[in-house]
């Protein structure tokens, strides 16, 4: 079953187009990483899915319903970001109890256990917590609600390294015990790639790619060696990135669809073949046509 389906979805703010003609579908019980640079439209997409924002045009279906103003969608979704508003008069425990009255699958003992593990006192007030601790509390809320669709929008803002690791581990463990659809957005791919099944890469409001993370890791290959030889070998190939190294060497990242014969050619020509990390592919795919930050300084 498809949990989310978008068809030519667009969203504009005043003059800016945040989401442009996006079509995609997300299957149930998968952990999908929504990756993109700042301003790629990640938050906008997630807020439309959660029914917080309107679409401008196109179609969106969550659990086969239009999410905006749908109680059914709201009852089965929790949307966690660093901007959640809680009543000023509620301590952490009160918030957890309130969540328990609203969410049917809520697991109070898990919530209390996590609260204790992360050294959050139940009688503290949310606004008095540090940024990282607020984020920690928010993800506890997200995990314990066990919603069929759980959305984390940049959940680790302000968390220290150890807490981040614990969070990803807790999320994975609970997901294994209670499979559900989880979307995790981030601009740091290397941090979450180990827990993801699928990756959805957004760039400037458009879908850049949507595939299993294992495929992404094998999508590209890096070639290093004499520039003219590398250029000759890859002349008809899709190039993601290239840079010059020293006087006449270069490093080029191309799509990995070499045949066996071509691979032998490459080896014979003395060209090094290097695997490319998912994070690097993501950066190459989203860096645009500008020459990079160096160009800004080399202009004069």
């Amino acid at each position: 079953m498809k949990v989310i389906e978008c068809n030519r979805l667009s969203k504009s703010y005043e003059r800016i187009r945040a989401i442009n003609d996006l079509s995609l579908s997300i299957e149930e019980n998968k952990i999908t990483g929504l990756i993109g640079r700042n301003g790629a439209g990640k938050t906008t997409l997630l807020k439309i899915i959660a029914g917080l924002l309107h679409k401008t045009s196109g179609e969106i279906r969550v659990f086969s319903e239009e999410p905006f103003n749908s109680l059914k969608v709201s009852a089965n979704i929790i949307f966690i970001d660093d901007n959640l508003a809680f009543p000023k008069s509620f301590c952490l425990e009160d918030i957890l109890e309130a969540a328990g009255t609203f969410y049917e699958n809520w697991d109070m003992s898990l919530a209390r256990g996590l609260l204790e593990y992360f050294a959050l006192h139940p009688k503290q007030f949310h606004k008095n917590l540090s940024k990282g601790m607020q984020s920690t509390f928010n993800v506890i809320l997200g995990i314990s609600s066990r919603c069929p669709l759980t959305i984390f929008d940049e959940p680790t803002v302000g968390m220290d390294g150890a807490v981040r690791k614990d969070f990803y581990r807790a999320l994975l463990k609970d997901y294994v015990q209670n499979p559900r659809t989880i979307i995790l957005s981030s601009h740091l791919l290397n941090e979450i790639e180990n827990i993801l099944e699928d990756i959805l890469l957004l760039n400037k409001g458009e879908k850049c790619l949507h595939m299993p993370i294992t495929d992404l890791k094998e999508l590209a290959v890096g070639l290093r060696g004499k520039k003219e030889i590398v250029d000759e070998l890859t002349k008809d190939m899709e190039t993601y990135h290239q840079e010059t190294l020293g006087k006449d060497s270069c490093f080029k990242v191309v799509k990995n669809n070499f045949s066996q014969i071509e691979l032998q050619h490459v080896k014979k020509a003395g060209i090094e073949m290097l695997p490319v990390a998912a994070e690097d592919i993501y950066i190459y795919l989203t860096s645009g046509d500008k020459g990079g930050i160096d160009d800004v300084f080399n202009r004069s």
Binding site: E28, K72, S74, A75, L84, A85, F86, S89, A98, T101
Partner: protein, 250 residues
Amino acid sequence: MMSLTGANLLVTVKKQYFFKLKAYVFLFFNMIAVQILGILLSFNGVMSSGTGNGGFFVSVKTFAGNLIIILTMIWAFFVGRSLTTDEYRKTDFVFVTNRLSSNLSAAGFALTAAIVGGVTASLSGVLFRIIVYFTYGSQNIADQHFFVKPQELLMSMIATTFYIILISAIGYFFGTLARKHPGFNVLLPAAFVGLLFLRVGNVGNISVVLEETVNFFIKEGSLMLFMIKITGVVFALFYSSILMSNRLEV
């Protein structure tokens, strides 16, 4: 697969209503403070006069409990208004909600607050009389309206409560208007102050319209009709607030 949860509007509204009662209970403490302030200020009396003749000196001091009710009305307006602000509304969207259920539960809370405000404001009037009775002594009280019959008290309680419900509905309506068009945040207080001056000057047609509007409520002789009028207007105010905010983004 994890089974989907069904959601029923009434059940959700009920949950949100109790959530709001618990979360915003401090608004009731504010009300108590406002009413105590009202009682203290009322001690000053609304009118004071004195005459002396030969060896006599008579001093008359007039007290009224109106101030307590007026202050409670201001509080009710503030309650209605704040329920529509981002801070209060965004909280609903952390949990299960849609715009209709959020509005209905807020309206339920506003009504509850207004009823509690109306009843306590009337009782504060009684408390104020008791305090006056004991501080000035029964022999010095010269007004047959000082002692209220239970039916009169009940009538005034109902009337006061309905006024306060109306005021909180107006607060809610203005708050929604201001959320839809932030310009109203400036425009509405300006219009209010402007109308005050108009009333003093008593010129132009607007002041006539305003008088008529006010008279529509306060000149109503029958309690029943008065209640029906207010209920209709309150319903219209909440209904239009719901319509206005039903397409708003969070």
